[in-house]
């Protein structure tokens, strides 16, 4: 994919993180916030997807600047690692929020 598509997704993920992250923080820290049910589960799943993409792309950018000759290998390794870790965390979220 072109670099500008990856960065556009990075910015979109950042905006999504601001919204869903605020809901997650508000539910857990403000005493008296009542958010239950499937809506919160959906919120957490979207949050975790955006967070994984944003964090993995950030790490990829830093690694490419440090090792510029191996940018392809870095991109593929980050993709595979990202999918594996995302599946694990999504499983954990579904188990906990249920």
């Amino acid at each position: 994919m072109r670099e500008s598509s990856l960065m556009m997704l990075h910015y979109a993920a950042a905006v999504v993180l601001l919204v869903t992250g605020s809901i997650h923080l508000m539910k857990n820290n403000i005493p008296g916030m009542e958010i239950h049910g499937p809506l919160y589960l959906v919120n957490m799943l979207i949050f975790v997807s955006a967070l994984m993409y944003h964090a993995m792309n950030g790490v990829r950018v830093i690694l490419i600047e440090l090792m510029p000759k191996r940018s392809r290998a870095i991109s593929y390794i980050i993709l595979v690692l990202g999918i594996i870790i995302y599946l694990y965390i999504a499983n954990l979220v579904i188990a906990l929020v249920r």
Partner: protein
């Protein structure tokens, strides 16, 4: 006139002979108007083996860029007493390969500049080969890119950027600034070609807006602004499409000279 003795710590390294670089100290008497280049030439009278690049001595050629007290500046443009220290450290420009002492190798820098096609590209090849007229441009269209055209290619921005410090394949703020200058020029029709070079793994997306390039530019060119505008153009091209107004050709017989005009 007030005169002072200032100690100059000059970086000396000859890769063909030396194993490691070393610093040489020279005491030079300076006054209010002495520039670092004047002091270096006086040092050269004492030690003729010092290698220094300089040409115009009036900050228009871009030859004398070097790290003066840790910041990339032009030697002919920096007055010694304005630095405010008793010891001035002079080192070659960072992120370039050293040829000898204060002279560095610009070939990589110019190769990156050439890769973004730094010239006007138009589709009418016959007009380019045998021109019959001139292209009209209004003041607003000129102001869109004029600031970025003042670049003297001194390399100070390339030395200040934190991304070039680790990434030798990054295009650098000078090449990206030039790419934006040609994309925004409405006489040019080659925007797609340049955007595909700039929108790559080591192109404009490796810039993170640290704005050190604009901080050190001696001609007020502002490459940081050009790169952020360039990212905006790329995003606009992906979503709503990027359209530019063209120019009209005015043939030579129609261009009447109007004599000397004063600009208000």
């Amino acid at each position: 006139m007030e005169e002072r003795w200032i100690l100059f710590k000059v970086f000396r390294y000859n890769p063909k002979v030396d194993k490691f670089p070393h610093w040489d100290g020279f005491k030079v008497k300076v006054d209010r108007g002495t520039t670092v280049l004047d002091a270096l030439l006086r040092i050269k009278e004492e030690d003729p083996t010092l290698a220094v690049r300089y040409s115009c001595r009036q900050s228009i050629c871009g030859s004398c860029g070097m790290m003066i007290n840790g910041k990339p500046r032009l030697a002919c443009y920096t007055r010694v007493l304005s630095l405010g220290t008793d010891m001035v450290e002079v080192a070659p420009l960072k992120n370039f390969r050293i040829i000898k002492d204060l002279v560095v190798d610009f070939s990589d820098f110019f190769k990156k500049e050439r890769s973004i096609y730094p010239f006007i590209i138009r589709s009418d090849a016959e007009e380019m080969m045998n021109p019959t007229g001139a292209y009209k441009q209004t003041e607003e269209e000129l102001l869109k890119y004029l600031e970025f055209a003042d670049c003297i290619e001194c390399g100070c921005c390339y030395a200040a950027c934190p991304t070039t410090a680790t990434d030798p394949l990054y295009l650098g703020p000078q090449a990206l600034n030039k790419a934006y200058r040609f994309i925004m020029d409405n006489r040019d029709e080659g925007a797609k070609l340049r955007l595909s070079v700039v929108d790559s793994d080591h192109g404009c997306w490796r810039c993170h807006f640290a704005a050190s390039c604009s901080n050190v530019c001696p001609k007020g060119v502002d490459p940081a602004k050009a790169i952020q505008f360039l990212k905006g153009v790329i995003m606009r091209e992906k979503t709503v499409g990027f359209k530019k107004e063209g120019t009209t050709l005015v043939s030579y017989p129609q261009l009447k000279p109007v004599g000397f005009q004063r600009s208000e």
